[in-house]
Subunit: 410 residues, 2 copies
Amino acid sequence: MTHLECSLCSRTFEAGRVWNLCECGGPLLVRYDLSRLKKEWPRESLTSAVNSMWRYAPALPVGQQNSIISLGEGMTPLLPAKRTGARIGASDLLIKDEGLNPTGSFKARGLSCAVSMCVELGVKVVAIPSAGNAASALSAYAAAAGLEAHIFMPNDVPQANFIECKAYGAHVTLVDGLISDCGRMVGERCKATAGTPGAWFDISTLKEPYRIEGKKTMGYELAEQLNWTLPDAILYPAGGGVGMIGMWKAFGEMEALGWIGSKRPKMIAVQAAGCQPIVRAFEEGAEASRFWDGASTVAAGLRVPKPLGDRLTLQAVRESAGCAIAVSDRDLMEAGVQLASEEGIFAAPEGASCVAAAEQLIRQAFLKSTDKIVLYNTGSGLKYLEAYSVRFPRVAAGEADKLCGLITPR
Amino acid sequence: MTHLECSLCSRTFEAGRVWNLCECGGPLLVRYDLSRLKKEWPRESLTSAVNSMWRYAPALPVGQQNSIISLGEGMTPLLPAKRTGARIGASDLLIKDEGLNPTGSFKARGLSCAVSMCVELGVKVVAIPSAGNAASALSAYAAAAGLEAHIFMPNDVPQANFIECKAYGAHVTLVDGLISDCGRMVGERCKATAGTPGAWFDISTLKEPYRIEGKKTMGYELAEQLNWTLPDAILYPAGGGVGMIGMWKAFGEMEALGWIGSKRPKMIAVQAAGCQPIVRAFEEGAEASRFWDGASTVAAGLRVPKPLGDRLTLQAVRESAGCAIAVSDRDLMEAGVQLASEEGIFAAPEGASCVAAAEQLIRQAFLKSTDKIVLYNTGSGLKYLEAYSVRFPRVAAGEADKLCGLITPR
């Protein structure tokens, strides 16, 4: 790591210090001396390395080995989905199953990296507004690092996330409001404590520059798992969009390192019909998104009405000749159930949305049936029991045999 | 694989055919030509191999590569637990986190192997009695393999397991009875359908000889992760006990392969106070266990009143100079919460029981504070939200600020 750079105005920032956003409001991106790394870090040196995303440590911002807080994040499986592929007309469909990460989602990657940087930079107290999995992941890594964590969640957050945060010992505040209310409250506390020994550090997506670095390892891994090639298309559920931005960054870095060529997959941002600011901006040809009023979807991770990384997401989509597409809640839940029964992968609704989107895009001939298509399942279905319960009501003991096969043994 | 052998009467059985128990009632164990493997399969050949338990395929029973049904099971992290270690007085404490397997538990290993063997042997319909995670894992692998799965569960099974099985498309029968009732019902259906094209195959623990082969990979992995050494002690939550039996088998095989020496860890079986047939048999000096009446514990995986593998478990414990120990529900739940907040690992109650047991054994000086101690967390705490919810009640919106920090934003 040499320095940070604002993604909007290109102003540079010194490494080794605590930063949030640029003064112009732009998210900061970490820069490395890639020409030096190209000489010192051949991809062949990976083979016998660490079995987590930290195998890519030279392209991550942490300087000291002993700052790394790892719970085994990354190196998730890339699974062929033949039966689902056959149904939707894709002969080479693969699922990257991020549900096998610690705390059951891809958020573990970003927060392993961000919390490790907190350790390196001496941050003691972290805070986050989150409607779910980011809160769980921050709580876990903060516990592992011995940091104090403050979580602000809407009070309708899934039970799994609430219980995880409490078990990990985080200070949980349930807010009778939206994620935007939570964000404002975290911002106020950070401002109020700034400069004190117990200063709160705001670890919101992209307001903090290192989560994206952890997430980009999804791109490094994909290339390694495909023997240093990239697929024809990547479908990614875009809430904040940072996973996709991170992968796009990773592809550029890997090309500079001489690990891959210049070919890029079509980057396809998948959103929910009830909250699709990126899709609207893409269709309007706009550079940034507008706030999506009345955001509502069962896929909690997609309920982001105005993502901070909207410009970067739209850039990646356009530069790659990809697209942005929305899926109804009904279709994405149905896709989740079909994927589970066809492939044995119980996906988060966000991940399931990619299956429904791929089906649409093949039908519209935007994707070819012979394309190598990779879908990202960003989390485990286990984190969304409330959502799936609606599909599978449980019949109370002794109530009715026929409905779900309840029987009393002789 | 050369043949199978009865663990009780040593009778041998031909490979390549479908088997359950020996006629004498003993579980069958798979045997390999280890002297040939010793020449053909040096441990150095593992380094660039598959990133799942199938890296150990030559020591697994599946003959055809394309029979393998894999969802990314195994290669789970071995994590240092410094803060928990310091609290309980263990300076070298490690946790093998099996919660990162597909379907959130170590059961994935056994069922990946067993279902792959079903594919290889032409079995089309599988059935299992299960109080939880084995049902989820069988449902997932059966879905991935395109097999028909029948699950018989007590109707008080956790919601996570019920939803998973339904989503994976299994036929779920909720039984108004105990796991033993479920087992009897599966047995009856298997008998009734035997010899027909839709014959049910009983995939209960140890009644089927290949699940243990998958589970033994926990032993191979541990040795590889510790650079071909073994720790001083292994604490394993013993319900059926098959994980421990499998590891013990793996250690023997690896010694025959020349991969490790003759040193063995103390094998310590951990049970719940409310169901401790192995502990009682160990203390009585008995070779087998007796049925534990009124079995009751929050750790559903430990609610096995008379494990079929009791003799093999007790053998491993005694040959290794280990022991068997019981932990109260209160202590194991407390240990789970402490582990989560100290290490960022949200364990199943079964896994948490090992932390409480290690603390007792260090206090009693059965284990030394400088011993290298490995605890197995067999599953994710996410599968046990009901159990953990008791510790972390959620306060309804607007109810009370003080209890859990609920506030209404201005």
